[in-house]
Amino acid sequence: MTLRIVTDSTCDLPPDLLRDLNVTVVPCNLHFGTDVLRDSVDITPPQFYQRLASAKALPTTSQPSVGLFLETYRRLAGEATEVLSLHISQKLSGTHASAVQAVAELASPLRVQVVDSTQVSLGLGFLVREAARMARDGATLGQAHAFLRDAIPAMRSYVTVDTLGYLVRGGRASRMQGFFAGMLDIKPIIVVRDGETHPAGRVRSRRRAMQSFQEIAAQAGKLRALGFMQAACLADAAALADSCSSIFPRADMLIREFTPVMGAHLGPGALGMALWPGSPP
């Protein structure tokens, strides 16, 4: 019995960690006009923000194709008996649906379980990392799945954007909201829980948004892991991590860059925080 973990490019885990834990990453797609690029494969975050600055039209994104999942599972069938395919919230992306479709068409003895993480970015990443560690240590699909059933509902991630412009273009905020947010320097704070984005507050200025993040983390009680995500604003993420490290000296902390597909929706300057409540193991 060999269990392997599959995820998608929105998990935002470091490539060497993914390699070490034998995690297969299926990339989402980024479209610049007619150019289709594989997320974090054909384009790195620094290249992405450079191209974004000069792009005439904003990029769009799409889920990995059913065929790509099918290809991935078939390849794994040669080296594993079980696959746990853990993905970005199905309410926010069609990635989960593509994977489910691929499993339906997979005529193979390989057992594949597709799981909705109900999360994004490191909220997904922490779950992937833990499931991969369990797989490495010999856990079965059933054991890993049972762990996820308990861990998923507790996970939270928060995002603030520097400009509402990208959310406006994506239809998640109105033009009017974008206009006044710019004028009044309003920074929305969005929480991802139960698979969906919910409003978690609005503050005036970036500085207060970062203060709010710190307060949210401080009120979370014990934390098993704490992640910070940034889109071309490493200094802010580092400052936030620094201010939180004194509150949670023992928590496992990670600072990562948002993958380009996430960056396309949030825009440069987006700052994120993933909280995994619980005691460090």
Binding site: G171, R172, S174, M176, Q177, L184, E196, R204
Partner: protein, 567 residues
């Protein structure tokens, strides 16, 4: 032989033979025509009462508010259905033949139509009066005196911190005089009340220093006196011109003036099949297009409901994210009542905000921050309790936060709390538009009512606000003489600075409010200010407070050249 200075009830009667003068009781038609005469009497003096406002900025318009409240009361009686529950038969004209029923209708109309502080107090006086005489077919002097006293008691209980030298003092003195004259006819009782009222009005400057400083009497008290005087004169048969004003005329006049309602547009509904956007995405887009937005469903099927002036825009959006089915748009002017009942069933749970605002920029800002409905109004146009109630009922959420955004509108907003059955109405007592903005920023439509109430109240307390305008008349304010046309800065209702120049007043206001490092300073410039002028002043503010962020917004609000917030 010296004559007694004591007031003789009949001494003012020009026509001692008038039948009402000697009538021992008032029946409903007589009471109604007396009230109509009183309302007309007040209306003819509206400008004089408005002019008594002591603030050097257009304030509340006490006379207008009281007059509109009386009109609403009479209008309610005029449209009252002919057969009341008490079984009293209607008269030929449709007016209830039962004085108690008539008073009940008046009180209900006044409650719904109450505008401003003084209008709300007047509506409470009428309510107290009505409650004291529910089963009286006619009123004698005794009942009238008891009614005036009950009216005062009711109003006094309602005001959170009663101030002497206002309409309350006048109502108390009038009721006391009426009780001393109980054995008289209704005309005599009203005459005694009116005489005591004008004496009391004359005394208000001694009780309220700001009145004395400005050499005026209390506007609300004066308005109440005019109503009592109108009753007394009419019952004494002294002014045939007044007696000619029938309630029907008043009702018509009111109907003609009530066309100010904001258009409701189209009640628009459609389904989106195979929607590619999450519900939240659809919801925010719909909120930008209209009001009363409800978006429910799941990935496979989304149901959208909204009120918008342009349904095609909503449908086009639906087609861009999925397949639109069962689209319909009904003109709501014909059927907005049934539509309101309809959303109530659609809407599951949640909180919404109803805000009072004026000025295009301010209205858009409140809408963009998530206010579900905007009631037009402000400093000189206080919306009525009924206007606020209608907006609260139209928004299909079980819990509504009301942002009055003006000190004069807070009392009417508080009235709504008791009038919206099945709804939880929470008044966040915002005294100006920037306070309302700060409170609304803290609102989260997904959060529980208690959490929202707490965080909105906290946000309100944390923002420091003030305003700059030009004095419309010379005044003595907080011991300082303000010349007409001078730019004045006010914070918490107190004069902070006066200057020939708006910019100087704005900067003095900011210094008074106190700007700390990292603060956000927001200047909302009004309808009378150009963008260039606002940018110049903002530039000066940014230079003086280099460690704060200065933002300017085209608020477009009337009266106030600048509204300022520091947070």
């Amino acid at each position: 032989m010296p004559t007694s200075p004591q007031k003789k009830p009949t001494s003012r009667a020009a026509n001692p033979g008038a039948p009402t003068l000697r009538a021992a009781v008032l029946d409903a038609p007589a009471l109604l025509s007396a009230l109509a005469a009183a309302a007309a009497h007040l209306e003819r003096h509206v400008e004089a009462v408005n002019a008594l406002n002591v603030f050097p900025v257009p304030d509340g318009d006490t006379g207008t508010n009281m007059s509109l409240t009386m009109r609403a009361a009479l209008e309610e009686v005029a449209k009252q259905s002919p057969a009341p529950a008490s079984g009293a038969p209607p008269t030929a004209s449709g007016v209830p033949a039962h004085a108690g029923v008539l008073l009940e209708g008046l009180a209900r109309g006044a409650l719904m139509g109450a505008r401003g502080n003084s209008g709300v107090i007047l509506s409470q006086i009428l309510r107290g009066f009505a409650k004291s005489a529910p089963d009286m077919a006619t009123l004698n002097g005794d009942a009238i005196a008891a009614g005036l006293q009950a009216g005062y008691d009711q109003a006094y209980r309602m005001v959170p911190s009663p101030v002497e030298g206002t309409i309350l003092t006048v109502a108390r003195d009038a009721a006391a005089a009426a009780r001393a004259a109980v054995l008289g006819t209704p005309a005599a009782v009203f005459d005694a009340a009116a005489s005591a009222a004008i004496t009391s009005v004359a005394r208000t400057p001694d009780l309220l220093p700001i009145l004395k400083e400005n050499g005026v009497v209390d506007a609300g008290g004066q308005g109440f006196f005019l109503l009592l005087e109108g009753m007394a004169m009419h019952l004494a048969g002294r002014d045939p011109a007044l007696a000619a004003v029938t309630p029907a005329v008043v009702a018509r006049a009111y109907a003609a003036s009530s066309d100010h309602d904001a258009p409701y547009g189209y009640c628009t509904e459609f389904l989106i099949e195979r929607c590619t956007v999450p519900l939240d995405g659809v919801r925010v887009r719909m909120l930008a297009l209209g009001q009363s937005v409800v978006v429910v469903g799941d990935d496979s099927l989304v149901k959208v409901h909204l009120h918008t002036p342009d349904p095609e825009v909503a449908f086009a959006y639906g087609r861009s994210v999925g397949v639109v089915a069962r689209a319909k748009a009904d003109n709501m002017d014909a059927q907005h009542r049934s539509a309101a009942a309809h959303h109530a069933t659609l809407f599951a749970a949640g909180c919404a905000v109803v805000a009072v605002a004026s000025g295009a920029g301010m209205t858009n800002l409140f809408r963009s921050l998530g206010a579900a409905a905007i009631v037009p109004g402000g400093q000189t146009m206080n919306p009525s309790t009924g206007d606020l109630l209608q907006a609260v009922l139209d928004v299909p959420a079980p819990a509504i936060f009301l942002l009055p955004n003006n000190g004069n509108i807070i009392p009417a907003a508080r009235q709504v709390q008791a009038l919206a059955p099945g709804k939880q109405v929470v008044v966040i007592p915002s005294r100006d538009l920037p306070q309302g903005v700060a409170a609304l920023m803290a609102f989260n439509y997904e959060a529980p009512v208690e959490d929202n109430g707490r965080s909105m109240a906290r946000a309100l307390a944390q923002v420091k606000t003030g305003e700059v305008t030009r004095a419309v008349r010379p005044a003595l304010l907080d011991g300082r003489r303000v010349a007409q046309g001078q730019a004045i800065a006010l914070a918490g209702g107190a004069l902070v600075a006066a200057s020939a120049r708006l910019g100087t007043a704005v900067l003095a206001l900011l210094r008074h409010l106190g700007v700390d490092e990292g603060d956000a300073v927001t200047l909302y410039y009004g309808a009378d200010v150009t963008a260039a002028a606002a940018h110049r002043i903002a530039g000066r503010a940014a230079k003086e407070f280099p460690h704060a962020q200065v933002h300017i917004v085209a608020g477009g609000q009337p009266h106030y050249h600048y509204l300022a917030a520091v947070e």
